[in-house]
């Protein structure tokens, strides 16, 4: 039993925190929030690429650092804490993981070094309508190697160079790699709840598409990618939730009402204790997910779903109660509470919402019980 980061991973995490405190202060986050033309912060993206983080879990043979997924999780925790306004998750947790999982040697060689170097931004384009991702909602089609259809919403679709797209090339769906610079791709940037991250509607009118993984296995592969992304997103959520709790605590100590700090009232103390409880439950589930991801354990679908459900709950609760603890000031544009409130929704929905993940979790538990 060794259920914590190693000393090396703690060092990496500490370095990542220091780096992001220097390169990703609130001004950087607000720079993207306040500029509708900005999808992400390019300087931060380049700096993060310079740190090698994009390739943390990509093997050295493909231009990465070859560290592993727990190291990547440690970085993710800090990116979440910093509310980093960059397409890191789409590129690394979704697209790089999809290529690592299902790509041919040629596809890995073609894309992974560029991803690791920060030369290619990726996006994961599965959904077409409101509601949970199912094969039935997939209308996009590939015929003769050409993709036609619409994907909405696509996180980082406005900035991405490369998309992994779920589309049907027969009765069943498959995954495809699509170069988004093709003339047959149109992008429309969408207004979202969290403008610190970019989201687009992508329209394909015969764009060249190369299959990624086995034909007809698209939904199953997408779910495996989602399992991996869910674990890493859970670390971003835990990082953000920790910082929201720190904000709430700091304000509760400095803000006085009725002659004493509001943090001396049990109504506030118990609220903050509840945030702490949910954060720790999420952290513990996320650790288990990271272990399952790195070790390739058969428990990954259950571990990932549990990490996802716990992390969605923790960040949502921390973000909304951080606003509440700040009172009227918390509802202003100037105070940073809303940045966490927005990011809680972005992270809570980007890989599918908690409701869908709870169903996936219980379905897995039923399967496990039958097998046992």
């Amino acid at each position: 039993m060794d259920f914590d980061y190693t000393d090396d991973q703690k060092f990496l995490k500490g370095e990542a925190r220091r780096f992001l405190e220097g390169h990703c202060g609130v001004a950087v986050v607000r720079g993207v929030l306040n500029d509708p033309a900005k999808s992400y912060d390019e300087a931060l993206w380049k700096a993060v690429a310079g740190q090698g983080w994009l390739g943390a879990a990509i093997p050295e043979a493909h231009g990465g650092l070859g560290l592993g997924h727990i190291d990547l999780a440690a970085i993710a925790e800090e990116l979440g804490r910093a509310l980093a306004p960059i397409p890191f998750a789409s590129t690394v947790y979704f697209v790089a993981e999809a290529i690592l999982l299902a790509g041919s040697d040629a596809q890995k060689a073609a894309w992974l070094p560029k991803i690791a170097a920060g030369e290619v931004i990726g996006c994961f384009a599965t959904n077409e309508r409101a509601g949970a991702l199912t094969e039935a909602q997939v209308q996009a089609r590939v015929e003769g190697g050409k993709l036609t259809g619409v994907k909405i919403p696509v996180t980082d679709g406005d900035a991405a160079d490369l998309a992994v797209v779920l589309a049907k090339d027969g009765a069943r769906a498959s995954l495809f790699l699509v170069d988004l610079h093709d003339a047959a791709v149109a992008r429309e940037t969408l207004q979202t709840l969290d403008p610190t991250r970019g989201v687009a509607k992508l329209t394909f009118t015969g764009a060249p598409a190369e299959r990624l993984g086995e034909a007809g296995e698209g939904l199953a592969l997408a779910e495996q990618v989602l399992d991996r992304a869910a674990v890493l997103l859970a670390f971003e959520q835990v990082g953000a939730a920790d910082r929201a709790l720190e904000m709430a605590k700091a304000y509760a100590l400095e803000r006085y009402a009725f002659g004493r700090p509001i943090g001396s009232y049990q109504a506030i103390k118990h609220k903050l204790a509840d945030i702490y409880i949910k954060n720790e439950l999420a952290r513990s589930n996320a650790y288990y997910g990271a272990w399952a991801l790195e070790s390739g354990a058969a428990e990954l679908p259950i571990a990932a779903a549990a990490a996802r459900v716990a992390a969605c709950e923790a960040l949502w609760f921390a973000a909304k109660e951080n606003v509440q603890t700040h009172g009227g000031m918390g509802y202003t544009w100037e105070v940073d509470c809303h940045l966490f409130y927005r990011r809680a929704q972005q992270l809570g929905l980007v890989a599918g919402g908690a409701k869908a993940w709870k169903e996936r979790l219980v379905a897995q538990l039923e399967r496990r019980n039958v097998a046992a």
């Binding site: 039993m1 914590d4 709790l245 903050l272 720790e280 589930n285 169903e359």
Partner: protein
Amino acid sequence: MDFNDTPEEAAYRAEVRAWLEANAPRKAGAAEISHDDEVNMDAARAWQRRKAEAGYACITWPKAWGGGGGKAWQSVIFGQEESKFATPGNPFTIGLGMCVPTILTVGNEADKERFARPAVLGEEIWCQLFSEPSGGSDAAAARTRAIRNGDEWTINGQKVWTSGAHFSDFGLLLTRTDPDVPKHKGMTMFWIDMRAPGVEVRPIHQMSGASNFNEVYFTDLKINDAQRVGEVGEGWKVAMVTLMNERLSVGGGGSGSGHGRVLKLASDIATLAGPAIKDSGLREKIADWFVQAEGLKYTTYRTMTALSRGQTPGPENSIAKVVSASVMQDMANAALELEDEYGIINDPAYAPLAAAFQTSLMAAPGLRIAGGTDEILRNIIAERVLGLPPDIRLDKDVAFKDIPSGR
């Protein structure tokens, strides 16, 4: 991060498991629960002795005191493995987890020599006499009076919520020795013989129907000054040692199978909208309970990791009871809703899963209170973990006798 045992841990686990297989029957299944409120004392004592003789009782205590001379992680592994076996109830936890460690920390040498080994062997059982009618959460409000006359003390007063007082041989008693100074300063700790004249134990009939707790009355109980634990007036500091030992004890067993019982129940029950197992509201709840139970399990593993690395564990394990007690209550209530009108039946012969949910529904309110209420535990997290200010205290610098006491 490695969820698997290290080779050293795996070897110890295998050794422990082999010993358990040879000495106890395995539990029939995860759903097995006991309906016996009364522990079979003879069986419990025999099991404790067998463990002690094999070095598996008080694993972290020095061998000189009857312990195993082992490490904290070994204790956790033994607890995990033992929980898979059908063993008698454990009436020794308060003595071995709180009372005797207090004596081993602040007591005199003669008492250490006298009490450690019989407690480890299960020959002597202890109870903790802190709470009073005047203060459960506020244990420093204790009024039980100890008055000194030479080498003798006379005790008068009443304790309450005393687990296991009815089968205990000794008790650790928190008393008021000076009501003229502020509350925390006028207290003194003693050990007492629970069978001495002047000690009367009256069981409390709980709302569950069981009687696990007692009232304990002291009427002119005479004790010798040699029974004092720590200095006169230092009783609150000694009590803190006791409670610290409680907080340091790490639960090794899992309580995470509850969601499995609900799944089992739901697979065999109908709702108006179809089979209960297909009910999306119920499925969401099952997921929530699972995530909380798993979260607690892995939080314990984080604590165990710190122990394995020879580090002081973080405060994360302080969340355990406040989460598990409420999950138990919510789960029981949801299960009874599923059973619908049938849920009112508390007869194990008829109620599904031998009335497991009815039993836990009636036990849960006690769990949310005993050993620190939900509210006190949240205060502790807020103050000791997060560093928020303590509550405004009206009683801190006032002589104890002048503190308003209400009813």
